[in-house]
């Protein structure tokens, strides 16, 4: 099935090209036919897409509402809360890639090209003024981090220290982002700062926030459920299995609708500082949605991790037991590292799914990116009927993030040597 491309000797270019074309496109009648049909289809699809993008479409709707797409109903003048985490993440991403991966020249060029292609439209259409400067700063920090890491990497004395610092900073990013959003210390005290009302969070910012919270929270829960399902304790096994199968058996939108309409009736009324000052049954919808997404995702994570647990050879556990290790230590040091490493691709796939699924929170009335765009195409009379432009733009933004995630995970797999023993 696989085409055999073996170039024996460097042939002159035209002959080489002809041979390549013969091997890969026109070998045999069926193959030629397949090539022709595919080309025709490709030309047709490309023509239609390009014609829409450059002729029919009116992109004004995106440009005029770019703030709405990315921030939703976030209060004007509070944008400063968003930037520190973005800048920090950029710098850390640069550092991490520089420290962890051994990019060869080709991958580096590809990455720079990919960034350039992705960022040019950002600067052309979206990042004017302050946003432009801050976006440029983020890109600059990422580049600086990458180059800095490559230089420090030469000096192996600091590698371990920097690695730990970076890891610690990654762990701090998320609390920092949350604290900036929800405030701290109470606005009344002199040190405290006020937060932004969670019902005003929106746009792509909300998609990212929901996805990150649900990913971070569902991972440990999922691991626990997986351990429960493979446990030798029947009660744990039955409870985990029932939970996982119940959640996996129903659509996410029904879980979201339950969290929205039904959950408050089941919550007790005591108040929780910061998150639910006026009683848990009055807790903000955004938090309820975060809980729903976490509970939903945990069931899927559990099934993936269970697959990994089953792949760990029994002998490993027996050997550890023979060494007199406690069950907890066996789990933490022997079983989980191997199990999790084996399922990284599947986990990343699940997290990408979760990220895409954040577009469904419109069903409970949250203004995430897709909803914000669709509200514009329906509510702003001058953009009435511009739904297609909105869909393509939102699809593109989701695609860029999701595709980058999947590529990064492949890089991670390669570095961790998944599948190589």
């Amino acid at each position: 099935m696989r085409g055999t491309t073996q170039i024996k000797a460097p042939a002159p270019f035209p002959r080489q090209a002809r041979r390549w074309a013969h091997d890969n496109l026109f070998g045999g009648v069926a193959n030629t036919l397949l090539t022709v049909v595919t080309s025709l289809f490709l030309v047709f699809a490309l023509y239609q897409i390009l014609r829409f993008v450059f002729v029919t479409a009116e992109w004004e709707v995106i440009e005029a509402n770019r703030r709405l797409f990315f921030l939703g109903r976030f209060p004007v003048g509070e944008e400063w809360r968003i930037w520190p985490p973005i800048l920090l993440v950029s710098a850390l991403a640069g550092l991490t890639v520089g420290l962890r991966t051994r990019l060869d020249l080709r991958s580096t060029i590809m990455m720079v090209l990919w960034l350039a292609v992705g960022l040019t439209p950002v600067f052309l259409f979206f990042a004017h003024g302050t946003v432009g400067i801050l976006t440029a700063a983020a890109v600059g920090l990422a580049a600086l981090g990458y180059i800095g890491a490559r230089i420090w990497l030469q000096d192996s004395r600091y590698v371990a220290l920097i690695g730990q610092l970076v890891l610690a900073s990654w762990l701090l990013t998320f609390p920092l982002a949350l604290v900036l959003l929800v405030g701290f210390g109470g606005a009344d005290t002199s040190l405290g700062i006020d937060g932004v009302d969670p019902s005003r969070w929106g746009g792509f910012h909300l998609n990212i926030l929901l996805a990150v919270v649900a990913i971070v929270a569902s991972f440990p829960l999922g691991v626990l459920l997986a351990l429960g399902r493979t446990s030798s304790f029947p009660v744990f096994r039955v409870a985990s299995t029932i939970y996982i199968e119940l959640i996996r058996g129903v659509p996410l939108i029904t879980i979201l609708l339950m969290a929205w309409l039904v959950l408050p009736d089941f919550l007790p009324s005591f108040s929780v500082p910061v998150l639910a000052p006026s009683g848990l049954d009055d807790i903000e919808l955004v938090y309820r949605v975060m809980v729903a997404l976490t509970l939903f995702s945990a069931a899927y994570v559990a099934e993936i991790v269970r697959g990994g647990l089953q792949a760990v050879p029994r002998g490993q556990i027996e050997a550890a037991q023979a060494l007199g290790m406690s069950t907890a230590r066996i789990l933490a040091l022997i079983v989980l590292p191997q199990a999790l490493r084996a399922v990284i691709p599947a986990l990343v796939g699940q997290f990408i799914s979760l990220f895409k699924d954040t577009s469904l929170v419109f069903i409970v009335g949250l203004t995430e990116m897709l909803r914000a765009g669709r509200a514009v195409a329906q509510g702003q009379i001058e953009f009435s009927g511009r739904e297609m432009e909105v869909l393509l733009f939102v699809g593109l933004v989701f695609w860029i993030v999701a595709f980058s995630m999947s590529r990064l995970s492949q890089q991670l797999e390669r570095n961790l040597g998944v599948g190589e023993r």
Partner: protein, 373 residues
């Protein structure tokens, strides 16, 4: 044997402790100002009878349930703020109660969620194109304030199809939004004419409009104001407004107005009289522009009562509504009277006020204010 009993005992004890812990959590904490549901007869669906005015003042913000995708009535601006006819009534209410029209938190609600949000106390007032009906008033425990906009369900069709009344529409496909009274009215109207039809039921207007434009359906039914707005904005490339016609027949009455919870009469009265005050100001010609003149010299006793100022040295009229006597000054000064709100929001949709049900009663319409006395 003793071991086993001991273990069972421990298990039971754990269960009892857990139940006790959960049960105690129920009546734990009562010191936050009235936001916890009262231990009333119906904790879930029942109205939270409470002091909405007190809550709003304590919070310093009015929580108003609105729409985010209805042109002219409630939609999102590019900077993320809400705008529209309904939204301006939220602003007016905030101006009246808090003295600041911007002290509003808007909660975006879907059609399905609005009454749930109201009855569970998530919002103070619902101003979201909501039709006043018997079952909503009685069964859903809602109180409807003075109607701000008289609408009615109609049908929009293409001129080229030669349809002149609903009765010509046997065998057609009709596009309709899901989950509203519109869907039920449509079924009733076609049933009464003995007409056979296919409804295409969409969740949102975006794909609905695309389907209508592509001629996947012959008719588009909705509130007439919405149809007029969509017709007005119909792209020239698709034929422009002239290619569409809204049939004369109105097959349902849709009085739209603010909604509050049953049981809090003071709050319902405030909502009601803010709307009435705006209509009265329109009748008297008091606008945000000339407000200062009227405050300086009301000219007659009723205007003085409306604006909460003294007339000919008399005492200032206080209605005991629970808010400042001069609340209408804030409303008119910051938001405007009924006509100003209408002109600002609805006329850009191509629906002038004159000659419609929403004209003042002085001009043959239905907008009529009870006396301020």
């Amino acid at each position: 044997m003793r071991t086993r009993w001991l273990l069972i005992g421990i298990g039971l004890l754990a269960a009892i402790l857990a139940i006790a812990a959960v049960a105690c959590g129920d009546d734990d904490d009562d010191d936050d100002n009235g936001d916890t549901p009262a231990n009333g007869e119906e904790p879930a669906n029942g109205a939270q009878v409470g002091d909405t005015l007190g809550d709003v003042v304590a919070r310093g913000e009015l929580v108003c349930g609105v729409n985010d995708a209805v042109p002219g009535f409630g939609f999102l601006e590019a900077d993320g703020t809400s705008s529209g006819f309904d939204v301006d009534f939220c602003r007016a209410l905030a101006a009246a109660v808090l003295g600041d029209a911007d002290a509003v938190e808007y909660v975006i609600l879907t059609a399905a969620a609005r009454f749930e949000a109201l009855s569970s106390g998530q919002i103070d007032v619902l101003i979201r194109n909501t039709t006043w009906t018997l079952s909503r008033d009685a069964d859903l425990k809602a109180t409807f304030a003075t109607t701000t906009f008289y609408d009615g369900q109609g049908m929009m069709v293409r001129v080229a199809d030669g349809i002149s009344s609903i009765d010509d529409m046997a065998g057609t496909t009709v596009c309709v939004l899901q989950g509203t009274t519109t869907e039920l009215n449509l079924a009733d109207r076609f049933a009464s004419g003995g007409l056979d039809y296919t409804p295409l039921t969409f969740e949102e207007n975006g794909p609905l409009e695309a389907a209508f434009t592509a001629e996947a359906c012959d008719g588009w039914t909705s509130d007439k104001s919405q149809l007029a707005a969509r017709r007005f904005a119909y792209a020239e490339a698709d034929g422009g407004p002239e290619s569409l016609v809204i049939l004369d027949e109105t097959f349902s009455k849709e009085p739209l107005g603010p909604v509050t919870r049953d049981g809090d009469t003071q709050w319902s009265d405030i909502v009601n009289w803010v709307v009435i005050g705006m209509i009265t100001a329109d009748e008297k010609g008091i606008t945000s522009q000339n407000l200062a003149d009227f405050v300086a010299d009301p000219g007659n006793a009723e205007t003085a009562r409306l604006l909460g100022v003294s007339f000919e040295g008399g005492e200032i009229f206080d209605s005991n509504l629970g808010i400042d006597a001069d609340f209408m000054q804030d409303v008119i000064g910051q938001v405007g009277n009924y006509d100003e709100v209408y002109t600002k929001n609805i006329e850009p949709l191509g629906i002038p006020r004159a000659g419609t049900l929403n004209a003042s009663w002085l001009n043959g319409g239905l907008i009529y204010a009870p006396p301020t006395r």
